[in-house]
Symmetry: C2
Subunit: 266 residues, 2 copies
Amino acid sequence: MRASDLERVKSLPLFTDVAADTFRVATAGAHLQRFPGNTVLLLEGDPVDFLYVLLDGQVELHGTWNDRETVLAILRPVSTFILAAVVLDAEALMSARTLERCEILMIPGDAIRTAMRLDPRFGMAVSRDLAGCYRGLVRTIKNHKLRNSTERLANYLLALRAADNSGGVVRLHHEKRVLASLLGMTPENLSRAFAALQQHGVTVEGAVVTLRSIGALEALAKPDPLIDNHAPRGGEIVAEADAEVWSSEWYRANPSDASAAGKRHG
Amino acid sequence: MRASDLERVKSLPLFTDVAADTFRVATAGAHLQRFPGNTVLLLEGDPVDFLYVLLDGQVELHGTWNDRETVLAILRPVSTFILAAVVLDAEALMSARTLERCEILMIPGDAIRTAMRLDPRFGMAVSRDLAGCYRGLVRTIKNHKLRNSTERLANYLLALRAADNSGGVVRLHHEKRVLASLLGMTPENLSRAFAALQQHGVTVEGAVVTLRSIGALEALAKPDPLIDNHAPRGGEIVAEADAEVWSSEWYRANPSDASAAGKRHG
DNA sequence: CGCGCATTTGAGGACTGTCAACTTCCGTGG
DNA sequence: CCACGGAAGTTGACAGTCCTCAAATGCGCG
């Protein structure tokens, strides 16, 4: 493993602010692995032995039931995934597969759990990480239950724009059928949703989407800071916002989207 | 605050296995409060100053957007809620309101965060709690994206049965319009979903639902351990199952439902 | 150039939401 | 104890949203 890779891992919110010793313990048995595209890394139901750290490429998390399948998240570097299952030493609830050639660091779950026991700062970091993931999922559910497909797409495009800091031209990062599933619709309906957004200044050419009128699009999308992580807060920026910045990367990958229970609720 | 209440709090997964000192620190500034029904405890967007522990009554968590509203979870005792926001010292993403007369312990967020810094076991407990919450939400999203409304209701009923250990007669714990929103449909459609389930041996009389044929209902519902926390695992019961038992209470409140981001994904 | 796959488009149907009227339930007040 | 009012729940008619199937188009790679 290259030193530069370790640096990238260390820069993860999960590991910044953690003692050097802890970091060494946590990454002790880790190994770097390369996967071709379209490779299954993990099947839902499998025991989870490693924490995965995506260093390069794209990974899709998806779930299945009764011959139906849905994309739950799409990750881009640098991201960890499957942390919750590692913490609980439980079976995976989502399958993971590479969408393209990937470089992935695999950290033994035992090492993670040991590090948590040794270093309260690391435990804190894990908690903060999971809390951010949880809140990402809350946003996702609100997005799905409160908006229709066109509204979800509109907000997704605005989130992409915010993440890439692009002017009025954004580039889709994944195939449209994958995006459709992530947004909870069929490829056919994604197509129609794009068509519907033409009336709001949106034109599509392959993966390149031009937003001719941000105002018109926002009027339809009504982005909300309590759903869309990119949406502007009303008042002053407070310190707490800092903590949430963690989510920016996931959000980047899943704009309008993002990452529990009777004894606990976020 | 009665000693028996403290005992109930201590029996929460969040606090079992935690040093007595830590427990004292965490619950130092806590105070017990009673609320009438239909009272707003917290509005989405508000800063979160307390971890809430529901000791008696029912609390609903919901979200709003653009004049639409949806129920995200319904809690029953003993449950903590809003832990993720406390850990991050962030604004609430969900509103909370009592559905009936409630008794709630409010623990200052500072105390929780301090305890996490002092005691790695508590940090671990918080992580495990949040991991369970996260996984509950993953289940919820799969439930919503992969199933239609009738299938969701069928699984909800089966989960209720499993949680209450009732034979073929289950009692709904909340108003049907609240249940409808939790399951992601309108009250009218919940009514129709119940009607559709008549063909599968389900009859409804007020809050009492009779499941005449579990087999027929399961054939439709196809409960899945990777979505429904109650569903039977295939093979042997493994140790990890233990960890997940945490979720049972939330799951009890939200059967067929139950408990992250580019830099972390569960 | 031709094949395969992704995407698009059209037609039709299934599912879900909306509106309105009706029924039932429950608590209040007579 | 009963009558009443209001809210919850149900039912029907209708519309909007979304899915399915099929066919056409477009793109990329051999």
